[in-house]
Amino acid sequence: MLRIRSVHLCDFGPFKGEQRIDLPKEDGVVIVYGENMRGKTTLLNAIRYALFGRVLTRGSVEVQLHQLGNWESAADGKYGFHVVLAFEQNGDTYELTRECRVRSGVSKPASNADYIEESFLTKNGSAMGPQEAVLELGRIMPETVSRFFLFDGELLQQYEELLRNESEMGRQIKEAIERILGVPVLTNGRADLAQVHKQAQHQEAKAAQRNQKTQQLGNLHAELLGQREAMQQESARLRQDLDRLRGTKTAKEEQAKKQEMLRGLLTLRERLQEEINSLDRKISEKQDKRKTLLTTAWRSLLVPRIKAFREHIEEQLRVAREETTRRVIHAETTEAIRKALSTGSCSLCEQPVAGETKERLQNRLSEFEGTPQTAASDDRIPSLERQVSELRRYQTDSSIAVLHEISGAINDFRVTKATSEDRLRELKEQTAGLDESEVRRTYAEYEKAVQEIVIVENGLKEHDAKLAEIDGNIGRIESELGKKGGSDLQKERKRREITEGLRSLFEEGVRVYRDHLRTKVEKDATTLFLDLTSEPEYASLSINSNYGLTIVHKDGTSIPVRSAGAEHVVALSLMGSLQKNAPLRGPIIMDSPFGRLDSVHTRKVIHTLPNMAGQVLLFVYESELEPKLARNELKGALRREYRIERQSARYSKVEKVI
């Protein structure tokens, strides 16, 4: 088991000058406390840097060397840095130094090229050669499995990918899991034995060809082996094509998913542009209408005067109409009196007109005839009526109100347009560089990959069927050869038989070991999970072929969606289970692993940590894990505490607390 004994830093990140963390020999937990930006992640990175010569930031981006040194030392003109990692494994002690020095002639390094990087590994006090050191480190801690020993919350999150069947990241994690569990030992063995078996078959065919009795069979054997080899090469090529096509399909699928969101933005952008164009048209229409209205708008100013003038004319009209009425009545009355006087009878009431009545009527007639009536008003009435009608037309002119309404509408449209334009600007920034044709191309490439996969899969099926036929024929010839031949052929037959058996054993072994591992990992992860979870209704974890774990409720149903906290608890259960089942064991070094956990889960994880690995090193901030809680839960298993103290924004100091 790998156990780190000390980490010694010099001018690495905020750790100015020489600083050191010593880790105890005994199993247990060491906690390094530090608030944000003090250098907890840098400590994890220092260990990564020492082991693998590189540091990855969040999102797996490699950090440039000139960004790794201490800024205050750099300000003093001191740019180099180094990390020394002391560790033990299976009774051997190692000291790994990785040093970064500025190249001569470089006054201020700005890229990796400005540095000279060197590493030294000693084993039990003796220096190892560079090649030997690389192999030794690859054996002790391969980078591909480091994710199970050195991790943070982001890395824990990635284990969700194991539940997605076609995820590239999921495939990589599965490979890493199988690697830490030792599966490659068997898969490599299987590949080596397949190769050795193939050689054995060729050797047997050659031996048969050398013997006169078996020459014919040997020739046929050699020919069939040649055919099979050609077919196998073609199959291998097709499988490579298939892998490539599946990779393309997954990549295009993921690209299309990303573009899907951008496509949505693009559609919205187009809709907004149409909306703006429509608003422009409406504004333009209203402006035209306003322009027309403005040409006659002056009339509105005359409305009060016109009204007064119209009222004056209307008065004249009324007077003229009264005059006409009076004249008509006067004329009709005069005529009636005249007629009554001449006939001696009233035409209206048919009473006789005589005596006093006649005299009164004569007086009345004299009066009427003395006041002649003119017809002048009759002539004026049509003219006055025309004037009133004309003036009324101007009185109903409300262009000012309409103008107000139009201006209001134009303003409203402009406000809406400005809002839409603002949103459009944002969308244009978001969709800058997005090419609609690229989106279409992605879909077309995806479709093409899907079609080609079907073709290649069918081709492979045909190939496999032909290969099985050739294998059958080879088997028959080998069986025939078994009945014949001398000692030379016997030895080669024995070689072929034994390699065939070994190959089959390893092939079956891979399947059995994988099944066995999955069962073990599932069982141990469930035990850990039940210790870690606070939900009493969760009964177990169920493992899939990728080692992805799903929570199972006590009623037997799977929990399809889980919280970020639950994901962490499941991921930690997987980590613990892998540590327990892996031939390669080492420390668990975690950076801020409790950020997503509530206090109950944090306590449970802390309590369980000593069972997950022999050596546990935690980098945490106090509100994430209170020292008092850690001491209470861990008791004797808490071996040491360190604290990272701020000296300045660019200078932190690690100090031992207990």
Partner: protein
């Protein structure tokens, strides 16, 4: 049950005609040379040759 015992158990149950020591040796080679595939194949070939030569019918002296 670890990797080696899985293979040995399987050998005992289904491939008893295969020599246990050779199986053990191949597993050991694959563990020791996991990072050097060329050397692993070479070692497996040599182990097989040693086994074949150790068989009574193939002993030359």
């Amino acid at each position: 049950m670890d990797l080696l015992s899985t293979i040995l158990d399987l050998r005992q149950k289904q491939f008893a005609h295969l020599p246990e020591d050779l199986v053990k040796e191949i597993v050991r080679i694959e563990i020791d040379y996991a990072e050097d595939r060329t050397e692993a194949l070479k070692q497996v070939e040599q182990a097989l040759e040693r086994y074949l030569n150790s068989l009574p019918e193939n002993k030359t002296c």
